[in-house]
Symmetry: C2
């Protein structure tokens, strides 16, 4: 167990290192913080902290920098979540209130997060599987060709073209459209499969039944199509603030950011509620081993329909970043609930 003072030393090291980006030594520490002890004492504490794996020195005769384990302790026990300032809150409201549709909300959120945290922002579109259906629309493109349009309560629109086994009359189409909507309108995606199960049987002609089955199959397929989960990223220019050695650092990060799969998996690991902070090697994906990811779910109601977060260097201002991420997530949730 680390003594109170040693924790205080660790906190001071993290704060200084985040500020200056340079290894911090014992003398500088005692000068900048009122620890009430001499540099020599701090040196001893540092030796212990290093032995325990919380800090390390890049090379002999240099100051110390926190390790991933050190940051972890800092986040878990030494730092709170810094609430945003009033101007910052106001900025969030001003910025998000003007959004006209879902794309716009997500786009603005990304830019806002990137700006507030000065890091790379990632925002997932509200996921289909957790939302409910506002409306299903069927359009006839050609005699045997339909377009299925699915509108969710988060404002997202999905479309699919369906080739039918046989032509489908306008009357039957209107009929199907009406029945579909009365059954699934307002329902959760998860509930849909049972609700439409017996729908084909209620049509008389075999051809119609075949078409209805095709349409339903496409609908269900659209609902479960996890791979279609989209996301938006922004603030990549902030990567250039990473450090001096960054050609090596920035490359894999950019690559990771382009791999939607990686990012989705990354966000997918977020706990349903509450904020998740993944530090350095805690990230499964190798390219992100020198970055930290702060993420949180957001949603229109009480529960999360999607996630958002930021990616930055392990050397980041955790309290501030966490505060910004949480505040933005809350307000985006509100916006979605209103629209």
């Amino acid at each position: 167990m680390l003594s109170e003072r040693r924790l205080e030393v660790l906190r001071a090291i993290v704060q200084d290192y985040v500020g200056t980006e340079e290894p911090v030594g014992s003398k500088a520490l005692t000068e900048r913080h009122k620890l009430g002890v001499s540099p020599a004492t701090v040196r001893n504490d540092m030796a212990v902290l290093e032995e325990e794996g919380y800090i390390a020195q890049p090379h002999t005769s240099a100051g110390r920098i926190p390790t991933d384990k050190g940051y972890r302790l800092f986040v878990d026990r030494l730092a709170g979540v810094k609430p945003l300032s009033t101007p910052e809150r106001r900025a969030i409201h001003n910025f998000l209130d003007g959004a006209v549709d879902l794309d716009d909300v997500v786009g603005r959120t990304v830019r806002l997060l990137a700006q507030l945290t000065r890091q790379v922002a990632v925002v997932q579109y509200p996921s289909l599987t957790r939302s409910s259906i506002r409306h299903v629309e069927l359009l006839s493109l050609a005699p045997a060709r339909l377009m299925l349009v699915l509108i969710t309560d988060t404002g997202r629109v999905e479309q699919r073209v369906i080739d039918c086994p046989a032509p489908f009359g306008e009357t039957s189409l209107a009929d199907l459209r009406a029945r579909l909507n009365s059954r699934v309108g307002g329902r959760r995606f998860a509930d849909v499969p049972q609700l439409v199960q017996d729908l084909p049987e209620s049509f008389e002609e075999a051809e119609e039944r075949a078409t209805v089955s095709t349409v339903l199959a496409t609908l269900l397929e659209t609902l479960v199509e996890e791979h279609e989960e989209r996301l938006m990223i922004g603030g990549t220019a902030n990567l250039t603030r990473f450090g001096h050695d960054f050609p090596l650092t920035i490359r894999p990060v950019l690559e990771a950011l382009e791999e939607q799969v990686v990012l989705l998996k990354l966000l997918g690991e977020v706990k349903e509620s509450g904020m998740t902070v993944r530090i350095g090697h805690e990230n499964a994906y190798e390219g992100l081993n020198s970055t930290s990811v702060v993420s949180v779910g957001y949603g229109s109601g009480g529960e999360a329909v999607a996630k958002l977060g930021v990616v930055g260097p392990t050397r980041m201002d955790y309290p501030g970043t966490m505060g910004a991420v949480r505040a933005v997530a809350r307000y985006v949730g509100q916006i979605l609930a209103e629209s």
Copy 2:
């Protein structure tokens, strides 16, 4: 006027510099190319080329590198468009054929272009203003609240929520929907305003007329909303191949890429038909002064509905890049026409 051999020397310089990324000297040139003359002669030619502003030396006693003017001459007179190899063509087909909807087409195109050219790819979504309407759908969300869904022939879907001045019955809604579609279905956006001009008058009740007017206003607004033109970018990780000094180079480029406005303006300057190459300082936007942009329009029919291109260092393989951009644009056009 430059003699034939001097042009040949310029071409050799450009090719070598693009390949090696290092200033090229007279001796190396004669060794790598069969110019049939001695290094001394090449030196004289180089002196002339430098005087004319086609090449420059980074510092005394270094080799020469092409200037923007040099690249311009190279592109205009010395280089053709290199056709793609058969495997590359096949890759394009394989990669794009699996696309399921418009988002997917654009996404795949971006990744494909980035991969083929090893540079940053930018693809604009088919613009609304140049496409035609496939279908207009009106849904009732609440008694006095409608959702307008607009489907274009390029598969793009736009949605708007409309608050009506008064409740609007289901019958009237079906009526309006039918009339709207019969008038504007299949028509070009540009023609829509006249086609719907007298629509409100054909409704009897004043309240209905008011609502119809509101709906039409929203529809027209959606049609002209240029700022909604979206685009997708990819391959930013390729920026790390830029050069050694690139922290300074990459920053403004990333910033430019995040500014949709800048990019849209960039693509907007592209000539309607034919490929446009903007080299270095020819780009209006300052951050892109050390990059070249190769772009071209693409479309489902004979005419362009949107543009795509790549952004890379001025030191790029112009013939190859132009070939890839052209080939991809053509095939995307085909895909859009089919769907």
